[in-house]
Symmetry: C2
Subunit: 76 residues, 2 copies
DNA sequence: ATTTTGGTTATCATAAATGATAAAATAAGT
DNA sequence: ACTTATTTTATCATTTATGATAACCAAAAT
């Protein structure tokens, strides 16, 4: 697996984990962020290389900073 | 100006500032990151909404973390 | 069993990021 | 002034993120 795929999987896991910690369904988060639920599903599954703005909206609606949402080190 | 534009300008400024601190020309950084110099120029000018992977490569070659490169608060 | 609810997956269209290249502008050296 | 280095800008092609929609799957609730 290459660098890019690993990164995508890592950010996907991170978003999913943060969302689940808050007990908010994909659909709800997607709606609040104005992104398609199918898009969020792909993102969480590591199937996309999201743009900064997409990550910003997700971070905002999870109540954390951009810096925090891309803090992928040692996150399992 | 909308949210997205502001974000783009902020990340552009941040990258440019970090690059200049290190006295590395756009061309060199672009080459190390395997991105087009024109693309990096656009990015630094706030003309693009970069993907996570693009930011990752830039961060790596600037010697900082993803978290750090998107740390845009109070950066002027 | 059959509705909900949450999530996934597939497909297609559209917008936009990036690649590729070239030319022009600007700054820095000399 | 002239050269050199650096950056910007424009254009076009290609790839891909995202939008939009629909169908499907799996639990859980009832």
């Amino acid at each position: 697996m290459d660098d890019k795929e690993q990164l995508q999987l890592a950010i996907g896991k991170r978003v999913k984990s943060l969302r689940e910690e808050r007990d908010i369904p994909q659909q709800d988060l997607a709606a609040k962020c104005n992104i398609e639920k199918s898009n969020l599903s792909r993102l969480e599954a590591g199937g996309t290389n999201p743009t900064l703005y997409t990550l910003k909206r997700i971070a905002d609606n999870l109540g954390i900073s951009l810096c925090d949402i891309v803090n992928l080190e040692d996150k399992k």
